[in-house]
Point group: C2
Chain length 557, copies 2
């Protein structure tokens, strides 16, 4: 029997695939399961398509109405009770790659997650991360020249009315708009408070007073259901508890989705890309582990992310305590202080920021991040090709030189006179040395280039996050400008405009702090990685020199 529902508000379709609904209109539903807040059904005019789950109530046999708005925590009906609820902001299409698909997984389908299957198809709308960086191991370096897709860059904020009609705008879906308009509300516990302070270079996140790090070791293949399903388990050891916990990729994936949902202007590091095949191959496991280590490093380095409950639960919950894990999981999924409400938790210095100055700095960062993204893409492509050349061409050249020397020594060996023997041996040794040098070239990228590329992949993720972050701040700024106009036109009370301005100040403080944090870890990470790269390159050339010196000595005997 087809499930029916009744329209609660008028909904006008604005995009292909959507259908319009009227208040009280009866629609038949294809399924009562929503996809990111959208339902599919047929309206009274026979049109089939999508509409927001929050705009209807399901008509059950017992006539109990039920709202599907599982995003209620993100769009609390704070200040504007009378207006329609905003439609869900995560569009089912086109998939916006900058937002990780955050379908709250129930405990029951936990084991059906992607990572358990030996061969899978891509999740719809997922897997958009790291697309430029295929993790097929060092033997198949690919060249990427295209930048990350940036759905959000194309979203234009409409500033002519108070509410942004573009429901796909990051400003809307992040909760930024709702917060600025004073629609967010919630009880902020002391422990949840996040402080922005004035540092040497401007606003910054208050340092984590209890800094820690976390190692990721021993990727181990595990099986369950009598070997039917296999997965890799990683051993996590946080320094602040020293208790080990075993976590799988799907746990990281779940955590990532929670973080993206919760923190609108924080650049959550992307987790390493999903991969359909070869997941149990050594190169892939090693590469994923390196990616997870970088990810963990960015998580523990971030004053806000490092301390948040869901991350702490992930780090500290014993892997043997299934019950405790599920409790924490449910709690995280029901967290109310996400999206718009996250901004409520931010405490800023008393003196407000000069918004004009903020705007100029944000514009500067936008230019910076674009150029950095371009250069990261270029360095990535160059190093990828450099690695490929070392593994193939350079190796081949040195090996050919080695082989030809060996061939020469074989010819010389035909002269059996004693005064010739020493030379023959030395040339043969030289040949072997050059073959070995060929191998050195082929093995080297694993020691240096690959690690730089891991870092670049992580930063490509961050740089893909920033357009959204900037967009939220820009949206808030636009609202301040609008409110000034509204006051001039007598459409708004100055008290209301002050509120908009205060809340924009909070978003600006958070954005500036996040940008400052980005610069600091960027300098730290690139300095460290460039040093490591050069150290490895120096060792490499020294190793070659050593081999050649060995060969040279053979001519003296």
């Amino acid at each position: 029997m087809a499930l029916r529902a009744r329209g609660l508000y008028d909904f006008n379709s604005e995009n292909p695939g959507e259908i319009s609904l009227k208040e009280h209109e009866i629609v038949s539903l294809c399924s009562e399961k929503d996809i990111d807040g959208w339902l599919e059904g047929t309206n009274s005019r026979g049109e089939r398509g999508l509409f927001p789950a929050s705009y209807i109530e399901i008509l059950r046999n017992d006539n109990v109405s039920s709202s599907f708005n599982n995003n209620s925590s993100r769009y609390p009906s704070g200040g504007s009770e009378t207006s329609n609820p905003p439609p869900p902001s995560f569009a089912p299409y086109p998939a916006l790659p900058q937002t990780h698909p955050g379908t709250p997984a129930s405990d029951d389908d936990w084991d059906d997650e992607w990572d358990d299957h030996s061969s899978v198809t891509d999740e719809p709308g997922g897997g958009g991360h790291y697309t430029n960086y295929e993790g097929n191991g060092p033997s198949t370096y690919s060249i990427s020249t295209a930048s990350m897709p940036r759905g959000a860059q194309h979203a234009k904020s409409s500033a002519t009315v108070s509410r942004n009609l573009n429901r796909f705008s990051t400003f809307v879906k992040s909760g930024g708009e709702a917060f600025v308009l004073g629609e967010a509300s919630g009880f902020v516990k002391d422990g949840d408070k996040i402080f922005v302070v004035m540092g040497q270079y401007g606003p910054e996140w208050q340092e984590n007073p209890y800094p820690f790090s976390c190692t990721i070791d021993d990727p181990t293949k595990q099986t369950k259901f009598k070997g039917m399903k296999s997965y890799i388990s990683y051993k996590l050891t946080p320094t602040h508890t020293q208790n080990q916990a075993n976590r799988r990729y799907k746990h990281f994936d779940w955590l990532y989705a929670r973080l993206v949902e919760k923190f609108p202007v924080i650049s959550v590091p992307h987790i390493p890309e999903k991969q359909a095949t070869g997941r149990f191959e050594e190169d892939f496991i090693s590469k994923r582990r390196r990616g997870l280590i970088w990810w963990m490093n960015h998580m523990t380095s971030h004053p806000v992310l490092a301390r948040c409950d869901v991350f702490q639960h992930f780090l500290t919950c014993p892997s043997t305590d299934e019950k405790l894990w599920k409790q924490g999981k449910r709690k995280a999924e029901k967290d109310e202080m996400v999206g718009a409400n996250f901004f409520l938790t931010i405490s800023t210095p008393a003196a407000p920021l000069d918004l004009q100055d903020v705007e100029s700095k944000i514009d500067g960062f936008k230019t910076f991040s674009r150029k950095m993204d371009d250069s990261v893409v270029q360095v990535n492509a160059t190093l990828s090709e450099f690695a490929r050349k070392q593994i193939a061409g350079f190796k081949k050249e040195y090996q050919r030189v080695g082989q030809s020397f060996k061939y020469l020594s074989q010819a010389f060996d035909l002269d059996q006179q004693s005064f010739s023997a020493g030379l023959n041996h030395a040339i043969a040794y030289t040949g072997e040395a050059y073959e070995t040098i060929g191998d050195y070239f082929a093995e080297q990228p694993k020691q240096d280039v690959d690690l730089v590329m891991d870092l670049l992949a992580l930063y490509q993720g961050h740089l893909a996050n920033y357009p959204d972050i900037i967009h939220v701040q820009k949206g808030a700024l636009t609202k301040v400008k609008d409110s000034k106009k509204h006051i001039e036109e007598g459409k708004m009370e100055s008290q209301q405009a002050d509120g908009v301005r205060e809340r924009c100040n909070i978003i600006s403080f958070a954005t500036m702090a996040e940008i400052q944090h980005f610069h600091q870890i960027r300098v730290r990470d690139f300095k460290g990685q460039m040093q490591h790269f050069l150290q490895q390159q120096i060792s490499f050339f020294q190793k070659i020199t050593g081999k050649l010196e060995e060969a040279l000595q053979k001519y003296d005997t």
Copy 2:
């Protein structure tokens, strides 16, 4: 008026382009100038073609007959007055590349020689040397896989009669056959005597009691005829006289032709190849000078070549004394102790060699030299490609890495915060370091690979000489075997056979001594050059390491 001549003996054409003549037959000549002992004319049957100049006498107005056999010194009618003179052994076609075109240049056309023209076409039959090694400088390395052409390898010695009918056989044209058959005769002055002694490893040339070397410096462009003609002059300074002499490539070329004519079983080092274009370009001059230095080194290292009159004349005659030069030149061109007569100058130890043992050793050397030639060709091709890769591909890769680092530092420069500046500078420096390393790669082949290839080119020349040298000894050995058979059949006196055997012993001593000399300079040369190559490669990689260490230090400031 057509010049006429009368046949002195019957001549039966055996090759395309030749015509047959009868004794007393009248032929008309196209020119009275012979080409390597051959004349062109028309016989009484109207056939036009070539015949040996020594088979006819020219009919002049004054009826004085004149023999054109300017090779009379090579083919003196010593022991067998009644038999026809052998036809000239250097065929005008096909050009045998192992014999340098040895047309005795008159003093008059001295200045019209190849090297004086700014752009020239190849001399017919000339320029067959070094064909595998194009001297277009390091920017145009070519790959050579084909071996040197070896006309002599295809010549088969016919051993069924006493005289070899194959007039293209090296055995015949070297004078080896004439000598073995006792047809060589001449007065050997004490100073011309060449001694083979028994050394540690068998027969060897008696060491030069007055060893010397000779430097080749200051290649200088000279002009004459009011700038109409240009050439490069090299300053030669032999250590035993310390008197400088200026010599041109054409002087080397003339000397080379004299040496090849004079010494049948000595491997005369090939002079660097001729080149039609770019003769005044720096790379070419530098390469030719290196080739001449190697050549000189082999000349002065050889106990027989180093001491011979024509070489001494070349080294010591003051370049200002035109008259003295011409005297020595004419004397060398009239030298009677060349070819067959050269063998008369050789003194051997009293105890004759075991010819079976010699045969086995010569066969061993033949196998050796073939395999060495193969491997020299392979090393040459590999190193040529290796150099090309370093100049193009390797350079490009390192420069691209450098450029991408520089691009990254430019992006980072957009963040003007002070804590970022040091890193930006260090990354920019790293970028420059990688660009410099790219240049190092491109410049390196000149320091090492090119020099090994110079050596290989010289040895390719030697290895192209050896089939002829082996062929002469094999021919002599065959004559000994034939004479044994002839004695059994009662066709030969044992005294005559003893003579053949004694003369074969002399040729064998000389050949064995030459082979021994080859092995000794080979070991010396390859040892030295491999050491130099490795030392240069070590310096190269140390230079790279140094550059990278400089870059690494920038991250500490």
